[in-house]
Symmetry: C2
Subunit: 358 residues, 2 copies
């Protein structure tokens, strides 16, 4: 993450990970989730916070989930049903549940099918937010599989290249592959120039946005560095046509197709509810696992040892910094903006809970 | 394609598609290919030329394939062998063949497996160039499947974000999905800012390259608009970090993993030979085909009917302009640079062939 998005030092409160995890589980149970689902949902948020992906940790997301339970757009007791199934595929419905704890069940089904047949893919409907795609893709790795996770969006915020009306969400994608000695490869990206949550975070920490990240409400790309505007649309990855925004737009559209049209929800900009697509590739259906991991170590080490360009310290591959951050934060705790801690204090009172850190 | 890459009008020679196709088939047979393989290889190139993707048509590619047969880096009589197989997956080796006619066989295997089990994925080793990923992904569509094609590269030309040494090829990806009444969705992109072939084409037509497309040999992004430099590296999609090049780099790395490490070739920058990954999703393993096509029509029509931003005429989705171009070129012929026609004349003499158009 760019430096500007980090919590300014003066506003930082560092909390031990197990304490935030326990508080988060309590909050989810307070909302009516079963203990199993609360533990799983909290695990997704802590995965992100530990890895430095604070846009998708408790800071931005937990309060919006709580709001969702309170206004009954989320069902704390939704049941998973399977609406279509083949040897390698399934479509499951979360019954209005938060996606955080439904997506892992979907990936588990994909993994089970891939264990038998080589590949597995699951579409998910009837769900709220996924909590970031990375966690769900990574869930395939302990099974010696490659994992893929995608999510379409309930919010249409992104204009197509040359467009003046939004047609896509930020439509994220994660693709994860295990290695031997090196931290696993894990790409976890929005197909826009900037994540929705990062805009909120930028507003909170007073950061500016770069030229080509956002469009004015008539679709014109904003080509100056500016404070986060009151109103704007997202631009696809690439930003403008000359910089490849048609590719980012196309990638976002693929994710819409795989998550929304293929799942039966219908196009994201019509359905206005999220859908997921989860996929697992069993590695030894293609190559012996040990050979694959050796290739991955060679590949990832080669990337990390690439001579840096002038002005840069090092080259990192997707997942490397996040693994390093996880090692540090597991020991030293997670830095939160003091405003986030205030929110925890408030909900602790409201739900009559007891957190170790507030 | 940006206007600047098109053949300047003064240099254009328009040739009927069947005439170029027949000449291309003759050339491939002249190189020693079986008629079946020659027809298939020519079909790939004509698909690209008809759809206006001249970077991957006969202009740029055919002479390099001929050179490959002549210097024996390509085997005109390579046989396909299967080195690993499960219900849904296979790894096949092309025996040193040109990829143009091996990749379709790989996709056919993926389609056959998906017809039985819902999904199919095939890695391909022992091959030369694929001739663009789009053709191979589209091959799944008549079977009511979604098709995916990827290729890693034998040439390492792309620096990672912040890197001074190249580590990836242009690692292209295609993802295609059928619709009902609308032309199919088909994204076909390199994961760099510009395709290798487009650089060659830019040089031929005297076009400039944009800021953020290329890096100097020390890895520093070239941030001015310049003529095509003598020496440069590719930058990943996004160009620079602030514009998301880490995402483009990550996408390129995924393709390397799926095509090279998963296939057993080993990392692209070590193996220095291409590999492919082909995948088919049977639509009715997730949703009734008619419903999917209705969703796709709604999705694609909605994209195409998006109100354009000021200064633009229309919004297009991936595959739309290409389908329109195909409709025109099928009737009116294909415009080539006169230099390309000269090359056809030369090889016609060399191989003692007889082309209708030269």
């Amino acid at each position: 993450m760019l430096e500007r998005f980090k919590v300014p030092e003066a506003d930082r409160v560092v909390v031990a990970e197990p304490d935030v995890r326990a508080a988060t589980e309590q909050i989810f149970m307070g909302m009516g989730l079963s203990e199993d689902n609360a533990v799983l949902a909290a695990d997704v948020l802590m995965f992100n916070d530990l890895r430095g992906v604070e846009t998708h940790g408790v800071s931005n997301m937990l309060r919006s989930y709580v709001a969702g339970y309170r206004n009954e757009t989320l069902n704390p007791r939704g049941q998973i049903t399977t609406t279509r199934e083949t040897e390698t595929t399934a479509v499951i419905d979360g019954g209005g549940s938060l996606g955080l704890h439904v997506a892992p069940r979907g990936m588990d089904i994909a993994v089970e099918k891939a264990a038998k047949y080589g590949l597995g893919a699951v579409c998910v409907t009837g769900v709220g937010h996924m909590g970031g795609t990375g966690y769900h893709a990574m869930r395939a790795l302990p099974h010696d599989m490659i994992g893929v996770a995608m999510s379409s969006s309930g919010r249409v915020v992104t204009v197509p290249t040359f467009g003046a009306e939004p047609r896509l969400g930020t439509n994220p994608l994660a693709w994860a592959a295990p290695a031997g000695e090196m931290p696993p490869f894990m790409l976890d990206i929005g197909t826009t120039q900037i994540a929705n949550n990062k805009l909120r975070l930028a507003r909170r920490v007073g950061a500016q946005v770069e030229p080509g990240w956002l469009a004015r409400m008539d679709g014109t790309p904003i080509m100056e560095r500016v404070d986060v505007p009151e109103e704007s649309y997202m631009l696809p990855l690439g930003g403008v046509r000359e910089q490849g925004s048609h590719k980012g737009f196309g990638l976002g559209a693929i994710i819409d197709i795989m998550c929304s049209s293929l799942s039966g929800i219908g196009p994201g900009f019509i359905a206005l509810v999220p859908g997921f697509h989860l996929m697992a590739y069993r590695i030894d259906a293609f190559i012996d696992v040990a050979d694959f991991k050796q290739h991955m170590d060679d590949f990832l080490r080669g990337l990390a040892e690439t001579k840096p360009a002038p002005g840069h310290d090092r080259v990192v591959y997707p997942g490397l910094i996040e693994a390093e951050e996880e090692a540090v934060r597991s020991v030293e705790g997670i830095p939160y903006h003091s405003e986030v801690i205030d929110w925890f204090r408030t909900i602790e009172d409201e739900l009559n809970l007891d957190f170790a850190f507030t």
